[in-house]
């Protein structure tokens, strides 16, 4: 269902280089979100990017709905602005952990990868809890030497969301 079984046919060296670059991307992306840089978050995407967070039950059934669904950087910016400036929610800390980066397509300036993520949430005076366990299905492009997401699908196993999901994954 997640694809990626064809990884053995990739050029091993190219795939390894991509994996390193993608791991660096994840680190930077998560660092930006985890330290509260929500308004810098859109800069990780191309202008025509698709960003969707959806439950695995939808993904597995081919259902298109998104808990968050953005077509294009403009919509991603609108969400970032809303979270940063207008929405009412209890304060919280988030921590992302990514692992198991699996490069599934590796071109010169374009690659696809699947990675695992774990999203921890801590409410003030609350415990630290696993908010989501999921996978990134990513398409990267290299623009001016820098990786950008052309598509990021965040597919979460944690079907019952604990109240809500405020910040992006």
């Amino acid at each position: 269902m997640f694809g990626g079984d064809a990884v053995v046919t990739l050029d091993a060296k190219l795939a390894r280089e991509w994996r390193l670059e993608i791991e660096e991307f994840h680190t930077q992306y998560c660092w930006t979100l985890d330290r509260g840089g929500i308004e810098k978050w859109p800069e990780f995407f191309t202008d025509d990017a698709i960003y969707r967070i959806t439950a695995r039950e939808n993904f597995d059934s081919g259902l298109p709905v998104g808990l968050v669904y953005a077509e294009g950087k403009a919509m991603i910016r609108d969400r970032a602005f809303a979270i940063a400036r207008t929405q009412m929610f209890a304060p919280r800390y988030m921590q992302h952990f990514t692992s198991n980066v699996r490069v599934t397509e590796a071109g010169v300036d374009r690659a696809k990868a699947i990675s695992n993520y774990l999203l921890l949430q801590t409410l003030m005076e609350g415990p630290t809890t696993i908010h989501q366990s999921g996978r990134y299905l990513d398409t990267f492009v290299r623009r001016d030497g820098r990786l950008l997401l052309q598509e990021r699908q965040c597919i979460y196993d944690t079907l019952i969301v604990a109240n809500d999901l405020v910040y992006p994954v």
């Binding site: 998104g66 968050v68 953005a70 077509e71 609108d78 969400r79 207008t86 929405q87 109240n163 405020v166």
Partner: protein, 429 residues
């Protein structure tokens, strides 16, 4: 975090939750709501018995989720797990998800297709109507063991519920004496229900599920409380979707249990929001401009004067028509301090690809990450914490005076009062 993860003031830690509370409604009557209706386990138990298992139609499924013979889904009536299934003759059946033998909750998949249900424990099998079909070793082995001679399969089927459907929406009841569904909804509620469902085949777009750490009635209140919508939600306010001054209504049925919060989107927010309203609404943001204005386009596809209708169908269904994003929310009460919400988002058969994408884009308004949805979830959680932890013991619902039922102004709690008139009568409070 889930409500069970609460560290400070966990459930059961407040003196207010002690069982010796006297269930005496405050002397003010319907302009006050006592906290114990949100927190007390005995009240919750009575609600399950008298409301969810009582003379009510409970939402269980959309027919579009189970289009073919043998299609089924796990669902709930109140907190009780049930299975909704389409039989080979096209009829829809609802029964308890509990094997008649030893109580196993046998149906584990969220959805699927099957010819029969087989309990995994001892492989008792049931047909698609819930009738017991087969028992392994029913006659024993080598003339030993087995069921008594007078054991009749007919007496040991799954517990079946009454079922009714209306325009593709499936309801079930533990009682068989509930009035017909059109009558149950009533003439005040039916037109807006039909605007969404009548004569159009739905296409399921997907699901959200969340635990909301608040009492289930708070969700009904929230959607019978147009006052909050004009204040809490910047999106509604700033883009003129629902502001004090827009054409709007809070409609209640004559029993007070159902409601429709309705509004018509103004074409130009700068002219529809007057200076006096802006000043009252802290959430109003002059500087809010969308980078992608497609988000708020409204394709007029409904036979209705309203661009938004949020219907509360007692006791467990919300029908959401927010511009072109459509969905039902199934409330599953989960003890006094928690509810599970199951959101089924849909469009219509024959929607163009662009229309589906428009619905998906607009879907960002609602759900557990929605611009409006998450604010409601946060507010409801805060209410539950407040009523559970503080020694103060009641809330105030005085907006609009003591009127009950339909209100023509958004600045009224009239529909909440009507709901509690009905609730008190059903609950004997």
């Amino acid at each position: 975090m889930y409500s069970n993860d609460t560290v400070i003031g966990p459930i059961g830690s407040s003196p207010k939750e002690a069982p010796e509370v006297q269930f005496q409604w405050p002397a003010e009557g319907l302009t006050a709501i006592p906290d114990w209706i949100y927190t007390h386990p005995q009240i919750y138990a009575r609600e399950v018995e008298r409301i969810f298992h009582g003379r009510t139609w409970n939402f269980v499924a959309l027919e579009a989720e189970i289009p073919n013979p043998g299609d089924y889904k796990r669902s709930y009536v109140g907190p009780t797990p049930v299975v909704v299934v389409r039989n080979t003759d096209g009829s829809v059946h609802v029964f308890e998800n509990r094997c008649a033998h030893r109580g196993v909750e046998f149906c584990r998949e969220l959805r699927g297709n099957t010819k029969e249900f087989v309990c995994p424990y001892h492989q008792w099998s049931y047909d698609l109507c819930g009738n017991l079909q087969g028992i392994p070793f029913k006659r024993g082995l080598k003339k030993e063991g087995g069921m008594p001679k007078d054991f009749r399969n007919e007496d040991h089927g799954l517990r079946k519920l009454a079922v009714t459907t209306l325009h593709g929406v499936v309801f079930a009841s533990f009682r068989d004496d509930v009035e017909p569904i059109e009558e149950y909804l009533g003439p005040e509620i039916l037109p807006d229900f039909e605007a969404v469902f009548k004569g159009r085949k739905l296409k399921i777009l997907g699901y959200y599920r969340n635990e909301l750490p608040g009492n289930w009635k708070l969700y009904h209140e929230n959607l019978k409380d147009p006052y909050h919508a004009t204040l809490l939600h910047s999106y509604l306010v700033s883009f003129g979707l629902l502001v004090a001054g827009n054409k709007s209504a809070m409609i209640a049925d004559k029993t007070g249990r159902h409601g429709t919060m309705a509004s018509a989107k103004g074409d130009d927010v700068s002219t529809t929001v007057d200076a006096a309203s802006k000043q009252e609404m802290r959430a109003f943001r002059e500087d809010m401009k969308l980078n992608d204005p497609r988000f708020l386009e409204f394709v007029r596809e409904f036979d209705s004067p309203w661009s938004v209708t949020m219907q509360t169908i007692w006791p467990n269904l919300i029908v959401q028509r927010e511009l072109n994003t459509l969905g039902v929310r199934h409330i599953v009460p989960n003890g006094p301090n928690s509810m599970i919400m199951i959101w089924t988002m849909f469009g219509y058969e024959g929607d163009s690809e662009e229309m589906v994408r428009h619905r998906l884009r607009q879907g960002n308004l609602m759900g557990p990450s929605g611009f409006l949805g998450l604010e409601d979830n946060e507010a409801i959680k805060f209410v539950q914490e407040g009523v559970r932890r503080s020694p103060t013991d009641k809330g105030v619902v005085k907006l609009g005076g003591t009127t009950e039922g339909t209100a023509t102004t958004l600045i009224s709690e009239s529909a909440i009062r009507a709901m509690y008139r009905y609730y008190r009568q059903e609950m004997g409070l």
